[in-house]
Symmetry: C3
């Protein structure tokens, strides 16, 4: 390389350095309190601090963020209270916010710090999102599971410990740690201050509150300040990258298993495989999100949450953290699919048989608690606007007809399984409602659960999101049919053994 | 930053802008008809139009594309008919092509437009690929399923609706929408014009044809112009990115479920994990595709489709859209693996027992319809040339021996299951061929289906593509063995209940 | 574009070319022997050679690599023997290393070349890693499976071929090829020279050794030089990219199936989804690996293997190829979880009942062979240092308590299944230890295996790595409970049939 070239390259490099230094000098102000946090925690937890330094929270002053146009704004409050608008959003800003409401707040190096940052804290800057989220079924995910006796009984059957003695299986209620490690990981924990604990730290002896249900980032978490939910379930700490919330992987954390295989279905859908193949070049960080320019196929967030515009800056879909305002039908989590419930708190629902379910055991919807067809039509129209940004009305109609037909047929297949179960209860082959026994503890009951919770759900998701592969042999229609046959075989074997069994039982259990 | 640096940066930026403008001016010509389409649809469906703008179709004139060297050409026609070679390939070029043959063509704003673009349309520029694809089993995927009574019966068992009454399960044939949402999503639909529909649009009232079987991009689609197949199954609309067709995700859309777990196996193979870890830096867009330079491990397309060369521009594998010319054995989709069928239309095959299957129920191949060992050897050699570009002959021989041994052992395990099923039929524990009953409706028959369709298939794929993890416990050999044991247990329980059952049945069904 | 701009751009391009040429001239020296290899194999196997050219082996002289600081060094030997330090590490350097010890070495074009490069060969430059790996359970994966009669019997049940005649299932031992295609793919093969074979090559007739068990890259491979293991299981040939070893996909090759679903769990964990969404921008190539700067969430390697530092260059975790020094508990692969075994060779263990298992059949640990609680504490502390680089002690304690509780509850659920199995053996419904029958061949025994090998394992992994979705309905607690119920049902059906069965059996088998 010639000397002249070297000089030129050095010159280019110098410019680069100058520009970077310029950038660095523009680093917005960090509050004194946050500086105090960083002085220790930067060394103690370098990973988490480095993440935060990459975040918008660390790099944009709220007062600057407020200057954006309405469509571009990421802060939904009209104004941010004074002390917070002039420094970046750092450790102290969130972890000392509203500390008077926080039962988990504690004295820490001269600050009153709380462990769990909650939607109430986030609503200082993001009130609209928090309010919308309050109408989202997910914000009630703890109570909808734990305060519904039918669902609680299912959870107990999943998490409880069985023992075996004298040809009988006995059940123990699940311990708290198991619930936390299982259902409540996604549904959210009930977080309470259990006591205090002293710990030797590099700063000497220090005292910390001990929380039950911690760690947890579940969507319906009951927080120590009385609020519900956890924004960080999707807006992963401490980078709070909008790219991360928009990528489908985040949703997969709770929506991949056979009970709710949304991510698995997405992966084999055309949308999912466009994302997998070409998504590396998309812009996941722009607000608003422009279809065609920023991305060319939807992720979960596109259809269910994000503010989406076209290149003329016309709004195609408004941002929603309620989500259900784009969803006419409830596909999953219950025995039959049905119109979406009116209230996110579903523990209030009672069917004619007195069960806390949005349909009868035989599938009829419990109308007073569910949205009507007009509201369904409205939500369908809202969702279809997203579809129509890439597809013709004829395409969308065809897809939607197929999907609603699948809701009907999967409900029929669930009804068939239910009838076999009801027969088993009636003929004494299994113990059910009439015997005040768990609906979920016997083998035929577990097969019944799989009929709706796994196979009907998977088939519906595959249809809704056009990931057909998942609705045929991978937990789909094949199993809907096979399972019904096996339920009947079980019932027949059991019925044959009933009279003999009773006689023999005495002998054997001696 | 100093003033001088600013000036310099602005100067660099100006150059950049000038270069980009230069590029933009070079934008090749769009036909008047396509401009007319874009004038409305650009606003109506911004996503799809933005995709197209990124495509080669939108950016390269056919006449320019024809100037490439033979190896580099993406157009297989020697000449492109005149009106099409001078403008880019836009909306109108494809959607008005051969409209006289298209039953789905309709008057639309002064143009005769058709909805479904077909292989016949694509063959204007890509005739060799379309012709090769006609020899591909996939082009016959509709008829091979729907016109084969055995396979149709299996599809009916998957998609039909069951009801339960008086201890009996009754079957209803599947409705059309369910077939479309299930098997035909991948196999392809039969597309017919059902009628016309008026719709209020932003341009006023307009009339559109209504198609049965729409939307659908299945590989064996029966098109409204009489052609078969859908290029867009793999060459995803409207970017038609070759990267997308070459990435394995595209294949996963139809090849991931337990019946054909090619993608799942690829993911745990060494090839798949090289792609996952390092593939982000590969060149998926170059034609021809140079091993080592463009990529260092194969994706599905590398082994099965693509034109592959080495850095000396020597051809290692010719491009093929027939695919079977590199495949000696048929692994999947049928009861036993066997030499590849001669004709892609397998509905013509009949075995000695009169069943439309390429083997007897006990596994013997139906020789006249299958390729001979010489043809198998030829195809094996073609495939191995791909392997040898990274592996020694010793390695390849070892891998291939193991794979062919696995074909043999999985066939043996299928035969064992078949013998249990035949015994069940013989002893009256289930109803089969002799009773003219479905081969697929009883529990033991469903287990038999899983033996070959899930477990033998998975084991063979795991072996073929060296994703061993999938052939052991994930739907592999573990289940081949477990399933046989459970089939026998079922048979024994059923046989014991037979005499008693008949007596009791009357009582119970009263 | 103006003429001046063109000139400027051409000037910039020229500089770029000059820089690149400068780089190219600095290409370090390739040995004469390696040049000889490349002269043919570059054309024969272009893929593999291109991979190597991208490797550090091809681009950095060992003598240069030795000059790095201790933390940055990738070579653990203090000195590299002379001929090897002055040329890059090419074909000949590895494939002719220690050829006198290699039974697979053969005369090839004037060189004594061996096929299989082994840990002993790699230890020339990387002795510390090879020595550590010798203490890793994985290095003994062949013997721990094949020399343990209980485990060998399980492998035989997975891989053996069943036949069916006169209402009986008979078992054939698996053939060698099947074992290689199944368990030994990951565990490693026994590699022996079976003979020699002549082959026509482009260089004329040549003779090559034929190896049993080839190809294979299993972690416990028995090599033709007497060493154990295969570095290339993780450090994929021939690029040996550290990025590849650190990406989680590499581990998925053997750790994804239901028996050891580490990768599946990682994918739905928060760590996994951070990696999926944001990992594209991380630096996977730097040594040492700096938390926060190079990456912001762990992959498999971060927690289990890598040398990790903070931005002050303080070591958080030392590099380990033993891995178990960060692992107090053994989660997988055995009936109950238990403290890690002391020796990587587990075939030496015997429990009180004389079985080669680290616990009794009823779960009590076989203390003398397992690490004590002090050693467990030490390993836990080592692992937790990794956790603490992003999480508080309170978080880590909460996570760890939950995990150890899950070890306890999954052991309880396994014990319940074991008691049902023991009852089945006792009552004659199945044949077990007392009857000297396989523990794994009957349906109830297979269900028992799934209880621990699939369902308890999955639940533990889900807990350990906080991928809860996997521990509930996806092969987790749901199945732990369902399986116990189905085992009891099977036992009851079987017991009922016992007396009658014996009478009927004679008739039927006539």
């Amino acid at each position: 390389m010639k000397k002249g070239s070297y000089i030129f390259v050095v010159f280019l490099f110098a410019i680069f350095v100058v520009i970077r230094l310029g950038d660095a000098q523009a680093q917005p102000k960090i509050s004194e309190a946050t500086e105090a946090c960083l002085s220790c925690h930067g060394a103690l937890h370098p990973g988490i601090v480095a993440e935060w330094r990459k975040s918008r929270h660390a790099n944009v002053l709220p007062s600057e963020a407020l200057k954006k146009t309405k469509l571009e704004r990421r802060i939904s409050n009209e104004k941010v209270p004074d002390p917070f608008s002039k420094t970046v959003v750092g450790c102290a800003e969130c972890h000392t916010m509203n500390s008077e409401k926080h039962k988990d707040a504690f004295e820490h190096n001269g600050y009153k710090v709380h462990i769990v940052v909650t939607p109430s804290d986030c609503s200082t800057c993001h009130p609209v999102e928090v309010q919308q989220y309050g109408k989202n079924l997910m914000s009630q995910a703890y109570g909808n599971l734990m305060n519904n006796p039918v669902y609680r009984a299912l959870a107990d059957e999943v998490n409880g410990i069985k023992s075996f003695e004298r040809m009988k299986i006995a059940s123990k209620s699940p311990d708290e740690e198991t619930n936390l490690d299982s259902c409540l990981y996604c549904h959210g924990s009930e977080m309470k201050v259990k006591g205090k604990k002293s710990r030797n730290t590099s700063m000497g002896e220090m005292e910390f509150p001990v929380l039950s249900g911690w760690p947890n980032q579940g969507v319906g978490r009951l927080n120590p300040d009385g609020s519900k939910g956890s924004c960080t379930a999707c807006h992963t700490r401490h980078q709070f990258s909008i790219e991360m919330a928009r990528r489908p992987y985040t949703c997969s954390e709770c929506h991949k298993g056979p009970d709710v295989p949304a991510y698995g279905v997405y992966e084999v859908s055309k949308h999912g495989n466009i994302h997998s193949a070409l998504g590396k070049g998309w812009n996941f960080n722009s607000v608003p999100w422009t279809v065609g320019k920023d991305f060319t196929a939807p992720t979960c967030a596109t259809c269910h949450v994000s503010l989406m515009i076209n290149e003329n800056k016309e709004v195609i879909a408004e941002r929603t953290h309620q989500m259900s305002d784009r969803i006419p039908w409830r596909l999953m989590g219950l025995i039959y699919s049905h119109p979406h419930p009116k209230s996110p708190d579903t523990s209030v629902i009672k069917n004619k048989a007195g069960l806390p379910l949005p349909t009868e055991l035989t599938g009829e919807p419990v109308v007073p608690y569910l949205i009507d067809s007009k509201e369904q039509e409205k939500r369908k129209t809202t969702m279809q606007k997203v579809c129509l940004s890439c597809h013709s009305q004829g395409w969308v109609d065809g897809q939607w007809d197929r999907f609603e037909n699948t809701l009907k047929t999967t409900n029929e297949m669930t009804l068939t399984a239910t009838k076999i179960l009801l027969t088993a209860w009636e003929k004494g082959a299994a113990k059910g409602l009439a015997q005040k026994d768990s609906l979920f503890n016997e083998a035929i009951e577990k097969k019944w659960v799989e009929q709706w919770l796994f196979f009907a759900n998977s088939t519906r998701y595959a249809s809704a999101m056009a990931g057909a592969d998942y609705g045929v042999f991978a937990n789909g229609r094949w199993y809907l049919n096979k399972n019904v046959q096996e339920m009947l075989d079980w019932l027949e074997f059991k019925l044959l053994s009933l009279p003999e069994k009773k006689g023999k039982e005495k002998e054997r259990s001696k």
